[in-house]
């Protein structure tokens, strides 16, 4: 994911962030589960997910928070601090599927020592909603 940096001193509501994509291979699900100490069978065990009446291993929804946060940090630079991030799930994603992440500046406030940016972000799969987020980032001057 390569991202164009956004200058928060002149950012405007409606401004788009760089769109990203992420494909979740079964190895990615294994990696994420291991790195977060989460070994739930939902994320790698096809026999288990079949028993749960699901079509395959499920992408851990928590990773969407990480993707939304990453888009914000990539857009606003290393000093950006994610203060709030709220996301809601719309649909499950399964191993092998690809999501697209989009973000739009919702609001910009300028404090004496920092810019505060509120983002509206979405994850979609083949154009259908997977999750959406409202994220607040503080960028020191």
């Amino acid at each position: 994911m390569t991202t164009s940096r956004v200058d928060t001193t002149i950012a405007q509501p409606g401004q788009s962030l760089t769109t990203g994509h992420k494909t979740f291979s079964i190895v990615d699900l294994m990696l994420y589960g291991a790195a977060t100490w989460d070994w739930h069978r939902l994320h790698y065990d096809s026999e288990y997910t079949s028993r749960m009446q699901l079509p395959g291993p499920v992408v851990d929804g928590q990773i969407y928070g990480a993707l939304f946060a990453r888009q914000a940090v990539d857009a606003f630079g290393p000093t950006a601090f994610v203060r709030k991030l709220e996301f809601r799930m719309r649909a499950m994603v399964f191993a092998g599927e690809t999501v697209q992440i989009d973000g739009v500046v919702h609001e910009v406030r300028h404090d004496p020592d920092a810019d505060l940016v509120v983002l509206d972000q979405t994850l979609t799969r083949d154009g259908r909603p997977v999750a959406d987020a409202r994220t607040e980032v503080r960028v020191p001057r």
């Binding site: 994911m1 992420k22 990615d28 990696l31 994420y32 291991a34 790195a35 977060t36 100490w37 989460d38 070994w39 739930h40 069978r41 939902l42 065990d45 288990y48 749960m52 009446q53 699901l54 929804g61 928590q62 990773i63 928070g65 990480a66 993707l67 946060a69 990453r70 914000a72 940090v73 990539d74 630079g77 290393p78 000093t79 601090f81 994610v82 203060r83 709030k84 991030l85 709220e86 996301f87 809601r88 799930m89 499950m92 999750a131 020191p140």
Partner: protein, 166 residues
């Protein structure tokens, strides 16, 4: 038949405490970033992080609320080791509805983090699949060794009854 029983209601307000086990650590932070395919040097290069104003490399923003590193004990029957309430709900699958995070400072490799989960609410609502489903909302507070609040995670999980005869 209602999914939300008096026994389930009695779980509201319960707490689960996970004392700090060890530092989050540089390896854990790098592993998390690797798992996301995120090559930002902020998560692996102390000098780069210092130039950005931090005392050392930092953890990716949501690592503190996504990790189950605070857990103790063996995995359960589902392979899960993280926090779970083990609610008396049978014949359901559990899925995530959403999370609301608040962060108060970046997490450093030296942070030893303890977590307190509180079960805030359980409600029963109509399901688009027919019937009803349970919404369970919990909140976790993450603190360092000095008691400084680092993050809050309000999480809503849904328990959906499995269909029978399939």
């Amino acid at each position: 038949m209602s999914l939300l029983t008096d026994e389930l209601r009695s779980w509201i307000g319960r707490e689960a405490v996970y004392p700090a086990q060890e530092e989050i650590g540089r390896a854990g932070i790098r592993y998390f970033a690797l798992a996301l395919g995120d090559d930002n040097p902020l998560y692996r290069d102390d000098d780069y992080a210092r130039q950005a104003g931090f005392p050392a490399l930092v953890a990716p923003p949501t690592m503190i609320v996504e990790s189950c590193q605070y857990a103790v004990g063996p995995p359960d029957d589902h392979g899960y080791i993280g926090h779970a309430w083990d609610l008396p709900v049978d014949g359901c699958r559990m899925i995530r509805a959403g999370n609301a995070y608040e962060f108060f400072r970046p997490v450093l490799p030296s942070d030893r983090i303890s977590v307190v989960w509180t079960l805030e609410d359980i409600s029963e609502r109509a399901s688009s699949r027919g019937g009803t489903q349970l919404f369970v909302t919990s909140v976790a507070h993450y603190r360092d060794d000095s008691g400084e609040l680092l993050a809050i995670n309000r999480e809503t999980l849904v328990y959906q009854p499995l269909t029978t005869g399939r």
